[in-house]
């Protein structure tokens, strides 16, 4: 009897520069977890299991069938583990917005490492650091040398560091989508071509969105969500509230819009859109109901932080990738 059972697949989950939400989204499979553990052995998962890096190093190359890497690459430890897990895994999935496009940690690409350190270790209202101590990659103590990962100047996406097989977008990805992808892998279903985005649609959020839209999206000013009373049914953009729907891939179940909040773009751009911010700038340009340069400037001035808004989840994965100094 036991002989007829399918061999379990080996699976790993790792977090790079992440908030932990992606790992929790894996736990959110709830009772489906029994299906997962029936089909897979979790061989490495720092949030849940005490398996050390050296245990992973000892595995033969390609031994892990499936690795979900969540989080961006922002320090030397993230990079080392990305390379190690690539070597040890047959399928490496960039799981979640941060691994996919850089995510919220990727917004640090608007600053340099020095600017970040200055804020964190010097100027925040709660910092007390009279000796101006900064993290050092190495520190000598009587017992030996202590090491900390090196903090990089730039945040990178997973595919800017290693070869990636699939992308499963979202902040975090919808757990149902993960289960579908996981089941496809364990049942040996035919997998999409390498480099595909899985667990999401080819259509945009707008195609899925239940809000009423007309052809004439024209506005004289933009509003931040708190500055206007949402009528609950008209397209956010038509009400002058920035919604990243046109530049974002569907698949989340329009979950923010269902909660009466505009889309922030966590699923990344649809196919054939290389840069979500460029797409948003195009969409917004068609909406501004002015033709005079000064009047146009005035409308644009009502968009608070356009770069941070249009690239909220995607700065490192965008064409320009970071601010230059």
């Amino acid at each position: 009897m036991a002989k007829e059972e399918k061999p379990k697949i080996k699976m790993a989950v790792y977090w790079g520069a992440a908030c932990g939400g992606c790992c929790v989204s894996v736990l959110d499979v709830h009772e489906k977890l029994f299906d997962v553990v029936a089909a897979a052995d979790l061989v490495f998962w720092p949030i849940a299991l005490d398996i050390k890096y050296k245990d992973v190093e000892a595995m033969p190359d390609g031994d892990i069938d499936l690795t979900l890497y969540n989080g961006a690459v922002r320090n030397s430890e993230n990079e080392r583990l990305a390379k190690l897990l690539r070597q040890k895994s047959k399928i490496l999935v960039a799981y979640g917005s941060c691994a996919h496009m850089g995510g919220i940690p990727g917004l640090a690409n608007f600053s340099t490492r020095e600017e970040l350190f200055e804020r964190i270790y010097d100027t925040t209202e709660s910092t007390e650091n009279p000796d101006n101590i900064r993290p050092q990659p190495e520190y000598k103590v009587p017992e030996g040398v202590l090491e900390l990962p090196e903090f990089y100047n730039d945040v990178r996406t997973l595919n800017q560091v290693v070869d990636v097989d699939y992308y499963l977008p979202g902040c975090p990805p919808q757990t149902e989508r993960l289960v579908e992808v996981f089941m496809a892998i364990v049942t040996g279903a035919e997998l999409p071509s390498k480099g595909s985005v899985v667990g999401a649609l080819d259509k945009s959020q707008c195609d899925e969105c239940p809000r009423e839209k007309s052809d004439k999206k024209l506005v004289k000013r933009f509003y931040r969500p708190f500055e206007i009373e949402d009528d609950g049914k008209t397209c956010f953009l038509e009400q002058g509230v920035i919604c990243l729907g046109p530049a974002t891939r569907g698949g989340c179940g329009v979950r923010c819009i269902e909660g009466n909040a505009p889309c922030r773009g966590c699923y990344g751009p649809p196919p054939d859109v290389p840069d979500p911010g460029a797409k948003m700038m195009s969409a917004i340009a068609t909406m501004i109901d002015e033709n005079d340069p000064e009047a146009i400037e005035k409308v644009i001035d009502t968009i608070d932080d356009p770069a941070g808004t249009f690239y909220r989840f995607s700065l490192p994965g965008s064409i320009l990738r970071r601010k230059i100094t």
Partner: protein, 141 residues
Amino acid sequence: MSYEPTIVAFLCNWCSYTGADLAGTSRMKYASNVRIIRVMCSGRVDPTFVLSAFKEGADGVLICGCHPGDCHYHEGNYKCLRRYHLLQKYFQQMGLDKDRLRLEWISASEGRQFAELVDSYTETVKNLGPCKMKQVIETLT
């Protein structure tokens, strides 16, 4: 200093490209720094084109279209104008000088104006110095 800027120029087919052509057939001299790309309308210039130009090493991008009211497709140049202002705001947040992008209207008969524009914009970009974007992108760690 031997720095010669590389400027990518997107010219609309109906007015500005014809204007540039006129400058050529009239044997006017202008700075050889521009690399001209013909597009059907200035409204065809997707912001992606502009960003890609900088990623590939451009020091400046020039967009030329028909004068307001003259666009062959009616509204394309207005759309371009709005994108231009958005892009400039984005540029400033990315540490790029907003003069690295320039939009001007050139009609089919304005060969002289085109030649002068190229010369003066080349001077502007020269004064800004080389754009670091490409090098920064290639050396991210």
